[in-house]
Amino acid sequence: MTFALAIEQLLNGVQLGVMLFLMAAGLTLIFGVMGLINLAHGSLYMVGAFACATVAAFTGSFWLGLVASLAASAAAGALIEITVIRRLYARDHLDQVLATFALILIFSEGMRWLFGSFPLYLDIPPLLEGAVALPGGGQYPLYRLAIILAGALVALGLYGLISRTRLGMRIRAGESDREMIAALGVDIRTLYTLVFALGAALAGFAGGMVGALQSVQVGMGEPVLILAFVVIVIGGIGSIKGALIGALLVGVVDTMGRLLLPQVLSLMVPPAQAGLIGGALASMLIYILMAVILAVKPRGLFPAQA
């Protein structure tokens, strides 16, 4: 294995981590503020990807597509918050799981109805085509670097939003005592809708960006959703910082595990078997990581104040 390959895979891991962060940030924010577990978050990611692919195909501009993905997912998020999710805040987690599971069924079949079963494809915008030279002699696609940068900017922006603005102050207040901030005259219903739409927009943004890397199809959100769950469980539910660190950890461990495990095993067993066992182990690695972290810290690495 060359140094360049290792760097390339590490960057891939970070890029996966950034996508997971965009998903996990929304999930953890919604859980932190509203106490809601939202399985339909992956559907919002899918909505973003479909909006981006459709608008980009129609107008020829990836950037308009990206704007559309933000707008469509935020709108879809606000819509389901007002019609369904709002009724679930006072319910137990079982009801929330079921209702949002029902939303997944509705979204998935609905998208299939609108767009058919064939995947859509999205081209990388001309500005971000090409590759960058890596130290060690490798090449790395510019687009993936741009995703990493965009994710870092979003993380910074989110940090600024939550720690420096009035809206962020209200979000933090909502996390610690929702009755109190309602009593202080903050319109809590609108705040909840805003937070939900913000989380949805982050998921949609991730979906829009990833659309240029993989095919856009129904069901694309679910694997990412489950990884995002692993991320927020590892990071501590309700903690944005935990989501960021957890996402990078999961992204890098997953990618590097797939690269390294078969090689490490091949030192001990014949290569054919090493590939087999290594591959199977690598696909389970992040869940093992999660189990280990939870065995040590049952509330995650950065538990938010309850």
Binding site: R87, V97, L98, A99, F101, A102, L105, E109, F229, Y287
Partner: protein, 323 residues
């Protein structure tokens, strides 16, 4: 007899009567539907021990369902080929053996998952059980020895002493019998001292701990029992389809099992039966009308959760008297 008990009896008899009527009317496919209902009801009855009695919302029971299925598939494929399995043990085509092995394997898996997951509660528990089930799912997908992504076929349905299991009616009766045993077991558990402790732990674990009962072993026992029962259903499901694939392990399956309980009514003895019957009938009727039946299933489910929290049994028999 209370209204719920009458309803339970009616449900049990109706499920038994339908295949006989179908047989007489020359509609063998309906027997398969009834068998599916019985098996899914058994799986949900298993889950209901953890979820309904213990309040443990496991979103990963597909792992146990699928493991049961894979045990049936793997044992029968080894019996068919004659190759020994792990530790040189032979495969088997006897359902009784398959069920025991399925229960043992799922019990051990449930123990491992439970020990880690039960350290947490609430949303964490939901997500962790989900993640463990995904782990098993990805393992089955990437392990090529037993079919990997493509799944594993069971050439001839496993055998039961003295019964020709390839006849749909006979196989239905086996599944129905096992379902009844499962329901009686779950009723016995509910009314036992253990069941009382388990329900107390659900309602207030701090108080239970304060009177000197440690909640963890009780929850763990419930979780393992629940896994074992669900695994038997998985083995039957594999026999019904004569096919096992990772889709039995997928998180959609876990979601469906919870849906069955909710459609029927949470915390009801026969809730899973009512739920499974509703689900399979919906699937069959809506699936006949439109390819998009899952869209409407989603709407029905959403309406049930938002407006009819007692499920079918709650609608007919009224509220549960005890919490």
């Amino acid at each position: 007899m209370s209204r719920e008990n009458i309803l339970n009896l009616v449900l049990a008899l109706a499920l038994l009567a339908v295949p006989y009527i179908a047989q007489a009317a020359g509609q063998p496919f309906t027997i398969t539907l009834a068998t599916r209902i019985a098996i899914l009801a058994l799986a949900a009855t298993g889950l209901n021990i953890a979820l309904g009695l213990g309040g443990l919302v496991s979103f990963g029971h597909a792992a146990f369902f699928g493991v049961g299925g894979y045990v049936a598939g793997i044992l029968s494929s080894h019996a068919f080929s004659g190759d020994p399995m792990l530790f040189g043990l032979p495969g088997s085509k006897q359902m009784l053996v398959v069920w025991l092995v399925a229960m043992g394997t799922a019990g051990l898996l449930g123990l491992a998952i439970g020990v880690i997951s039960l350290r947490t509660s609430g949303v964490y528990f939901i997500m962790i059980t989900l993640a463990f089930a995904q782990m098993v799912y990805y393992f089955a997908m990437s392990w090529p020895a037993y079919g990997g992504e493509d799944g594993l076929s069971i050439v001839v349905r496993n055998q039961f002493p003295g019964v020709n299991t390839m006849r749909p009616m006979n196989f239905f009766m086996i599944c129905y019998g096992v379902l009844l045993v499962g329901i009686v077991l779950s009723a016995l558990i509910r009314s036992s001292r253990f069941g009382a402790a388990l329900q107390a732990v659900r309602q207030n674990d701090v108080r239970v701990a304060a009177v000197g009962i440690s909640p963890m072993p009780i929850r763990l026992t419930a979780f393992v029992l629940s896994a074992m029962l669900t695994a038997v259903a998985g083995a039957l499901y594999a026999d019904l389809n004569r096919f096992v694939s990772p889709s039995m392990l997928s998180w959609h399956m876990s979601g469906e099992l919870i849906v069955l309980i909710i459609l029927g009514g949470t915390g009801r003895l026969m809730g899973p039966v009512a739920g499974a019957a509703l689900y399979v009938i919906f699937e069959h009727l809506l699936g006949g009308l439109t390819e998009r039946w899952q869209f409407f299933l989603g709407l029905i489910l959403l309406a049930t959760v938002l407006f009819a929290r007692g499920g079918l049994i709650g609608l007919i028999a009224g509220k549960v008297r005890h919490g």
